[in-house]
Every structure is written in structure tokens, then in C-alpha cells.
């Protein structure tokens, strides 16, 4: 694990500059608010400088993948704690068990009634093992389907926070129909008669992520990734060597800006410079604002429009030419 350190040492000077500049802007802004002074003449050039510097901080795709996994990166529940009230976690698929990698329940999202669905990676070692690092078993996806039924019944818009390396590749998961459970979840979500806003907050690995990713809007945090396969998985298929993951990450074009360009997401949510883990409150504020804004935009539509909007959105994704 030498790479994360290399990443940090090569990046620190620029990131440090950016963070200092951000702090100065924040100070000036709060001074402006508290004193009522017009500080725009001072703020405007600083903001322009910040924008310029941000563009200069170029990270490789692999460096972004590592930020998506870095220790201390906020998990779904850390965002939920900051952005919701009255979250009531509902348990179980009513058939086999309760999956702790994929959890959910109704909550107030910045004051809006929603049904939350999310992959939770876990915070300490014990918690991570209990949640299989956010890799759900079939009962997790079947619980998601059950919660989507409730969302429809009670008119709760669905907010899905995606953060998984993929569905759990275990023997029992296969016995209980992992592929079937994911397919059912995709199908159920496409039929929702309420709006759905999804956000990839960390890792978006394959079908296990897509299972709760059928949103009217799909957003992604700046340093999250979303792909058909993890860089390690791709590397072990291509080069029979998972250590070639950095090369695979480049080939897979899996970063937030890539996905925006491919039309797979509607919006990239900016993270605090250096990554969401450096300022969880700011990251949460950005996520909360974006999700709430999309929920509000969708709120005026009819159930038919939510269903057809989602269908049209996904129906047109893909790249091909016609003869």
C-alpha cells in the first residue's frame, strides 16, 4: 500500500494551497454575512483564482478510486445523520433474513419525506465485517424491493445512496439467487410511481450498485467511481494481475467527470478539496443540497411522468452506430 502515500505527497502542495484559499473565502463570506459589508470586490478575484487552481489539480483515475476508498471517507449513515431526521430503519426481507450491507427506511431528508435505500460499508472493523463492507446478499436486494413497495404505497420519493464494490460473491448468495434478486430490484425500481434520486457517494461496483441505481436523476460525488467492474476485477481478467488496477482504472473511464461526459449521470457533486473525508460536514451539505434540489424539481410531475421519465432515461443509454 505505497500508492496512497505517494498520491498524498505529490498532491499535498496544491491541495494545501487550495484549502487555504477556500478557508480565506469562507472567512470573508462569513464576515460579509455577519457585518453586512459588501466584500464582493475582494471575493470575486479569490473565487476566480480558486476555480483556476481547481482545474489545475488533475488527479489520475486511480487516485480518485483511492479517494473513494480512503479511511475516514463518509459512509451512507454519516450523510444520513447530517441530512435527515427521524430515520426509521426497517429490517428484513420477510423471507430469509436481514442484510446489513443494504439498509433503508423512511426519513425526513432536509424536511422532505423520503424512503432511504443505501449500502452501508461499516465504520469499525466489527461493523464492516457485519456489513460485508457494503456488499449485499440477495436478502438485501429483496428488502430494497419491499421498501420500494412501501414507498409507492405511501408516496415517499426514493433517495438511494450507492456505495458498494459489488454484490457479495458468496456461495450462499448464489444459492439464494443473487442475480435474480438484483434483476428484481432493477425492475421494481423502474416501476416506482414516485420519483427516485440516486447518488453514488463512494464506490459504484457493477450490478450490485445498479440494483438501487434506477433513478429519475443519478448523481455522483466528485471522487466516487461507477463501473461495470472494479479496477482490480478488470485487471485480473485482462492481465491476470490485480496489481495492474491503476491501468484498468484508466481504461474503464470510471470517474465522475467520465460518467458525466457519457451521459450516465446528471450531475457531479463537488467535494471539499482533497476529498469528502477532509470535511464531512461540507461534503454532506453539498450532497444534501443536490439531492433536495432534484427532489424538488421532480416533485411537480405525475406518477406516469416519473415512470416514463425513468424508462426514457435508461432506454437511451448506450453508444452504437446505425447502418
Amino acid at each position: 500500500m505505497t500508492r496512497p502515500n505517494q498520491t498524498r505527497t505529490t498532491q499535498t502542495p496544491t491541495v494545501q494551497t487550495l484549502r487555504e484559499l477556500e478557508a480565506r473565502i469562507r472567512d470573508l463570506e462569513s464576515t460579509a454575512v455577519s457585518t453586512g459589508q459588501d466584500l464582493d470586490s475582494a471575493l470575486t478575484p479569490l473565487r476566480a483564482q480558486l476555480t483556476r487552481l481547481r482545474q489545475q489539480v488533475s488527479m489520475t483515475r486511480w487516485e480518485r478510486v483511492q479517494l473513494a476508498r480512503i479511511a475516514g471517507r463518509p459512509t451512507a449513515l454519516e450523510y444520513v445523520e447530517r441530512l435527515t431526521e427521524d430515520f426509521v430503519e426497517l429490517h428484513g426481507d420477510r423471507a430469509f433474513g436481514d442484510d446489513q450491507a443494504l439498509i433503508g427506511g423512511p426519513a425526513l431528508w432536509q424536511g422532505r419525506r423520503v424512503m432511504l435505500l443505501m449500502q452501508q460499508k461499516g465504520r469499525d472493523t466489527k461493523d464492516k465485517i457485519k456489513r460485508r463492507f457494503g456488499s449485499a446478499n440477495p436478502e438485501g436486494y429483496r428488502k430494497a424491493v419491499r421498501l420500494m413497495d412501501l414507498a409507492d404505497k405511501f408516496g415517499l420519493p426514493v433517495v438511494a445512496l450507492i456505495d458498494t464494490q459489488g454484490a457479495y460473491p458468496g456461495l450462499e448468495a448464489e444459492e439464494r439467487g443473487q442475480g435474480w434478486a438484483i434483476a428484481e430490484s432493477i425492475q421494481r425500481m423502474s416501476r416506482l410511481r414516485v420519483p427516485a434520486v440516486c447518488a453514488v457517494i463512494g464506490e459504484g461496483g457493477s450490478g450490485g450498485a445498479l440494483a438501487i441505481g434506477i433513478g429519475n436523476r443519478v448523481l455522483i460525488m466528485e471522487n466516487a467511481w461507477y463501473s461495470v467492474i472494479s479496477p482490480e476485477g478488470a485487471a485480473s481478467i485482462i492481465w491476470k494481475d490485480s496489481a495492474k488496477a491503476p491501468e484498468a482504472a484508466e481504461a474503464l473511464k470510471l470517474t465522475a467527470p467520465d460518467l458525466l461526459e457519457l451521459g450516465i449521470v446528471e450531475e457531479v457533486i463537488a467535494e471539499p478539496t482533497g476529498g469528502a473525508h477532509l470535511d464531512v460536514d461540507a461534503a454532506a451539505a453539498a450532497l444534501g443540497e443536490a439531492v433536495s434540489r432534484h427532489l424538488d424539481e421532480l416533485a411537480g410531475q405525475s406518477p406516469e411522468e416519473w415512470v416514463s421519465g425513468r424508462a426514457e432515461r435508461f432506454r437511451k443509454l448506450g453508444a452504437y452506430r446505425e447502418s
Partner: protein, 297 residues
């Protein structure tokens, strides 16, 4: 053997391999290791006459085995592109060119209209010979179009899955085909038309986790490997050997994941029976007398 004769008689449309196709007239069955006369194999729907092993089929041969006569082809207009400029040990366009030259089709899918025991159906057949039947944008688009056209024309849809999963070279675009095919299949579902999938060896990954398993009825071929995660990945995760027969069709039937395992030589008969029962209107069969009398005053 009587069954063999039955199928030989009923299957004149299965073209025996030409001399050019098969320089060797004899092949070895991978299961029983016996030498098999290839012409016999072709006449037996590519099922080993000796041990019943179901050989993998490319889409053209599959269409011949599945349908009464020739397929009226719908697919072929949609071509893959290298949207990601994907390069690993070779470039994606190079890989595509090789697979296209090998199979003579633009991508890993053949769709069209055909007949099963004189019932009209839409067929979507994945081609394992094209890049392991991997699902990229073209496969997704062709399946979506076939599902929509089946809906418009009031045809049941029969899908034959044969795929290692989503195509890595199209990354997230491939992943999105799982959603695209699912929403397109709604068109069929809303019209109450039957959708039957046949899972053949192998059906794994994103194909298992999307259109292949949301069918009204799921049929599997004997011995087919069917699953989400590959056996090697599972073994690495759980660090123990996998039981015999794990992820095989028989294992899945036992675990309640498929409706039935049907020998390839009986598939047309079973499918026709099902279609007549599930949706007489779509196959041009008159509703049973009891239903008609109930509607009478």
C-alpha cells in the same frame, strides 16, 4: 434411440455441417470423451447422442434448433463503437473486428421473428461465439428493440441467454444495458405478452442480474453454468472449494431459481405447449370453450 429417429424426422431444417465447415468429420465429446460423428451431432440438435451433453451453439445454429424454419432477421443494423477508447492488451476495435469476422454479425446478438410449432414468436438469441456473448450497448439495444417490436406486433418473446456477462470494454455503458433491457421488457409485460428465457451454458454476470431472470418462465438447459459471480471469484472470496454441481442448471432448479430444465431436443414442444397455455390470443389459438360459455349471457 427412438427419440433420435423422431427428431431426425422432425428436423429437416437443421442443416448438416458442410464439408467445408467441418474438415474433421469426427469430434470428441468433451463430457464422455467418445468420438462423435459430427453429422450425427448436428442432426441431434448438437446434443451428444452418446451421453446427452449439450454442446454450446452459436446464434445461427441456435436459431435453427429453436425454430421451425428460417428466422426473419431483425438485428444487424446496430453496430458497436469504441466510445471509451478502450485499450488493454489490444484495442477494443481490434477485438470487435476479430469477433465480427468470426461470426459474420456486428455483435453478440441475433433477433428476429420465427415459428415454434407454427406459433409466431420474436426470438432474441445471444451469440457466445462473439466475444463470449458479452453484453455491450449493441446487445442491450437489440434486445430492447426486439422486446418493443414483439410488443407492437403482439408476439411472445423467447430469449436465449449465452453470455459471460456485461462487456468490460464498454464499462458503465455496458452496465446501463441491464437497466435498458429491463425497461424495454416492460412494453411486453404491459401488453400481457409472454416472455420466456432459456438459460444456456454459460449465463453469468450482468445478464443473470437483469433481463435473463425477469422472464415469466425461466427454462434452463441441462448442465448449463448459471450464476451471478463466477466460480473463481467466489472461491477467492470464501477460500474453500465449491461443491460439485454448484451453479449448474440442476443446482438452480433445486434452489427454486428456474422453472424447468428442458433437453434441447424437447424445447420446441415444451415452449409451444407453454405459449398455448399462457397466452392463446398471441399464438392464434381459440380460447377454450369454457371461457367462451362463461361470457355468454
Amino acid at each position: 434411440m427412438a427419440l433420435d429417429k423422431f427428431f431426425r424426422r422432425r428436423r429437416p431444417q437443421v442443416n448438416p455441417p458442410s464439408e467445408a465447415d467441418t474438415p474433421d468429420l469426427w469430434g470428441k465429446c468433451p463430457q464422455c470423451k467418445e468420438n462423435v460423428y459430427l453429422r450425427d451431432l448436428a442432426l441431434n440438435a448438437y446434443v451428444c447422442p452418446n451421453c446427452g451433453f449439450h454442446h454450446r451453439l452459436g446464434a445461427t445454429k441456435r436459431a435453427e434448433v429453436l425454430l421451425d424454419g428460417p428466422i426473419e432477421i431483425w438485428s444487424g443494423r446496430v453496430h458497436p463503437v469504441d466510445a471509451l477508447n478502450f485499450r488493454d492488451t489490444e484495442s477494443y476495435p481490434e477485438r470487435l473486428a476479430r469477433a465480427q469476422a468470426k461470426t459474420g454479425r456486428p455483435d453478440a446478438i441475433l433477433t428476429g421473428r420465427g415459428q415454434i410449432e407454427n406459433l409466431s414468436v420474436a426470438a432474441a438469441i445471444m451469440d457466445f461465439e462473439f466475444s463470449g456473448g458479452s453484453m455491450g450497448s449493441v446487445v442491450g439495444e437489440e434486445i430492447a428493440r426486439a422486446a418493443e417490436r414483439a410488443g407492437e406486433e403482439g408476439l411472445p418473446l423467447i430469449l436465449v441467454a449465452a453470455s459471460g456477462g456485461a462487456r468490460m470494454q464498454e464499462s458503465a455503458l455496458s452496465l446501463m444495458q441491464m437497466a435498458k433491457t429491463t425497461v424495454a421488457l416492460e412494453a411486453l409485460s404491459k401488453r400481457g405478452l409472454p416472455y420466456i428465457s432459456i438459460l444456456t451454458d454459460p449465463t453469468t454476470g450482468g445478464v443473470t442480474a437483469s433481463f435473463a431472470t425477469i422472464a415469466d418462465v425461466i427454462v434452463a438447459e441441462p448442465g448449463a453454468l448459471i450464476g451471478f459471480a463466477g466460480p473463481r471469484v467466489i472461491q477467492q472470496t470464501i477460500r474453500q472449494s465449491l461443491p460439485d454441481g454448484f451453479q449448474r442448471a440442476e443446482f438452480l432448479l433445486e434452489h427454486g431459481m428456474v422453472d424447468m430444465i428442458v433437453d434441447r431436443r424437447q424445447q420446441r414442444g415444451e415452449l409451444a405447449k407453454l405459449l398455448r397455455l399462457l397466452h392463446p390470443a398471441s399464438v392464434g389459438v381459440a380460447a377454450p370453450a369454457s371461457v367462451q360459455s362463461e361470457q355468454a349471457p
